[in-house]
């Protein structure tokens, strides 16, 4: 567990280093990523899995149910497969039809539940689910790869490995809604269940079971097409397939809207790194584990493709750095992990450094896996402002924690170039150009740097010995930022230390940080605000968890 105010040691990286967008945008998945946490739990607790319903016709249309049966409770992915004309297939949130739609059901659904869900789940945002559902999601096929796999299997042949590697998934989800969206169960209603307390565990389960569905559907269609000639997908090819995910700007404001949650994710990871750096010696087994993780990361980087210029440069950095790590002798002497880390800070790019974080954590499960239980947040408890603090004390804390934001001129066009807003179109969050577009009057409170500078200027005009309460009564317009400043006192990693309105800000950096915490391993930006990833690639399937014992570290 992280102590409430864990003393920051020389092994801890400070927020000033960690919370920069350029570094967050170089994040890699670690063993504390949410999908790894979920798989470990299911492995440890001996969860069982089955598929009690498979009502899919010869056109690939129908419904199916995948169950995950845990020691205390059962969860079911209810999947609906549709016949989607090509011209309606869009990953944008404004789409209204998909190849497949899903809900994660709390328990085992009856036929009546399935009928109720069938009337709503295919409609997604336009339907309603109930507190019996924990998530609502949809996915589109990777049209070319899906067809290739079906055709080959129908002919009795395996698909081309290069084709599979180039895409990495048969379907990609375009939204996974949880936490009370569209009538689903509130997080508060399920947060006391150990298996769902961690962040996004219901969503991860839904996506993982979706992965099985995508392969079952392809094999089903191959069997329809090829009859007795058809074969099933080979084990190694199955394993390399994940579930794609297409993520746009909509996900970016989440990390700014949930500062205490962001803090707890970051703090758990940073505490883990500090624990590894703080080991006086390196066990031989841990060094072996590090070396194998490095080999896996090198393979992952080799198979990682992108056409985006920013990502191409980062990939070159990453591959170069992994090669450097490969030849770098493991340090002798005391605190060898720390020595390795300090060397990396001088020798490697941000991509390489953040990859190394994951590599160093990988062989230290016994030391750090418990931190996975510290990544949720009680946001209600952190909400209320303390008005009794003096302006002087409040400003002292502000100056300590927000030095990065003060002293900038936010009247400069480049510093205030953007504004975040919600579009009327399907309520999609978007990013506008303040000086070219209308709508800045409706901007979302995302510009934390400028807001804190404004707040500090206003506080300077107020008597220093007075309590904050009087200031906020007179100036409710600063209440939003004052709350964040106060939350950051106990949550040092709560704020991104960059100007999120700046002309050169890259939203994909925010997206990558969040997706790495989910456990994504390939990041393929399609623009500066849109990224493709794959989840669960090279991870076990439900049937593997039941039969294998040692692959989920």
């Amino acid at each position: 567990m992280i102590p409430e105010r864990s003393p920051r040691t020389a092994f801890h990286r400070p927020p000033e280093q960690v919370m920069r967008l350029a570094r967050m945008g170089s994040a890699h998945p670690t063993r504390l990523s949410f999908l790894r946490v979920m798989l470990r739990r299911m492995q440890t607790e001996g969860w069982r899995f089955d598929r009690p319903v498979w009502e899919i016709d010869s056109n690939g249309v129908g419904r199916a149910v995948y169950r995950a049966i845990g020691p205390a409770r059962t969860y079911s992915l209810v999947a609906f497969a549709h016949d989607l004309p090509d011209h309606l297939r869009s990953d944008r949130v404004i789409a209204t039809a998909w190849d497949a739609t899903f809900a994660l059901f709390d328990g085992t659904p009856t036929a009546a539940d399935l009928d109720r869900l069938q009337a709503n789940v295919p409609l997604q945002e336009a339907g309603r689910v109930s507190p019996s559902e924990l998530s609502l999601s949809r996915a589109n096929r990777s049209v070319r790869l899906f067809a290739h796999v079906v055709d080959r299997l129908a002919e009795g042949r395996q698909p081309d490995k290069a084709e599979i590697d180039a895409v990495g998934y048969l379907m990609r989800t375009t939204a996974v809604y949880g936490s009370g969206k569209f009538g689903a169960a509130d997080r508060a209603a399920i947060a006391d269940r150990p298996e769902l307390r961690g962040p996004f565990q219901a969503e991860m389960l839904s996506v993982w079971l979706t992965r099985s569905f995508t392969i079952d559907l392809a094999e089903h269609l191959a069997a329809v097409k090829g009859g007795a000639t058809a074969v099933r997908l080979a084990q190694d090819l199955r394993r390399s397939l994940g579930v794609g995910n297409s993520t746009g700007l909509g996900m970016a404001p989440f990390l700014i809207k949930h500062p205490t949650l962001l803090n707890n994710w970051m703090m758990a990871r940073e505490e883990a790194l500090a624990r590894v750096r703080g080991q006086p010696m390196a066990e031989a087994a841990a060094i072996d584990g590090y070396r194998s993780a490095l080999q896996a990361a090198t393979l992952n980087a080799a198979s990682w493709t992108s056409e985006h210029p920013v990502q191409l440069a980062k990939l070159a950095d990453l591959r170069g750095d992994l090669a450097r790590l490969e030849v770098q002798a493991f340090p002798d002497g005391p605190y060898p992990w720390n020595a390795l880390w300090l060397w990396a800070e001088t020798a490697l790019s941000l991509e390489g450094q953040e990859a190394l974080v994951a590599l160093m954590l990988e062989p230290h499960g016994a030391l750090i896996d418990g931190l996975g239980d510290c990544m949720d947040a009680d946001e209600v408890a952190a909400f209320a402002l303390d008005g009794s603090i003096s302006i002087a004390a409040f400003r002292t804390g502000l100056h300590q924690r927000y030095a990065w934001a003060l002293g900038q001129d936010y009247d400069q066009r480049a510093q205030a170039a953007r504004f975040w807003y919600v579009s009327e179109e399907k309520l999609e969050p978007r990013l506008g150009e303040r000086f070219d577009e209308d709508g800045a009057a409706l901007e979302l409170p995302i510009g934390t740097a400028r807001m804190v500078a404004d707040l500090d200027r206003a506080l300077a005009e107020w008597p220093a010995d007075q309590p904050l309460a009087g200031f906020l009564l007179a100036h409710p317009e600063y209440r939003f930022m004052a709350r964040r400043v106060q939350q950051s006192a106990r949550h040092p990693y709560a704020e991104i230390h960059d100007n999120l309105l700046a002309a050169d800000m890259l939203p994909i950096d925010i997206l990558r940080c969040k997706l790495a915490f989910f456990g994504a391993s390939h990041f393929d930006p399609r623009s500066d605000r849109w990224v493709r990833i794959a989840l669960f690639q090279n991870q076990p399937f439900p049937e593997d968890l039941q039969t294998e014992t040692d692959h989920v570290g």
Partner: protein, 219 residues
Amino acid sequence: MLDEVVLSLSEVEALALKAARGAGYSWGLAEEAAFATRWLCEQGLDGLRVLADHLDGLLTSGQAPLPPQMHALQWRAADTTPLCPIMTGAAINDHFGLPEGPRQGGLTIGPVAFPALLLPFVAIAAAREKVAAVLGWARCKVIVADGALLALEGNAACNVAQSINLTVIARATPAPRPFAGLPTKPDTGHLLAGLAHRTYVPATDQSRRGAGAAGTDNQ
């Protein structure tokens, strides 16, 4: 939002936040309004109805939300216009442990619009200070303790309370109250959705261009 629908608490909170913002509250106060609305719904009261009526009243009257003026043991309005319950509630939270707050001999507050919206603020501030609190107005008496509703006598729904008595009592623990879900009436939902809509920016070709992927979706 035309049929009666049971919203989840996170939907209640999101709708209340946008509606309060759409009605003109600053983001920080809109967050307080969302917190208060969710709290009322969690306690089994129709928070969305109260918020909708309050916001509707503000817009109909054209009055800006009014913060309290603080005097010894009394918080008053500048004139006969009722105080804003969101601003007053936030001020109760902020001042609870300060000399202006209710801990030294209680407070008389009024007039206040839609006083039920004060309850959440008193409840969490009292819990933080490890006390409970009693609020009384007209024919209504409410006890909040441990961050929740402990007792409610009479009807908390009321457009204006001329005078509210707020006193601090010893801490108590209410029985846990499982959230059952409240159907939201179509007119409430419609009104709040209309206000929420004011926070959205109309789509333009330029905004659409910046929203999606640069390449094609299919591969």
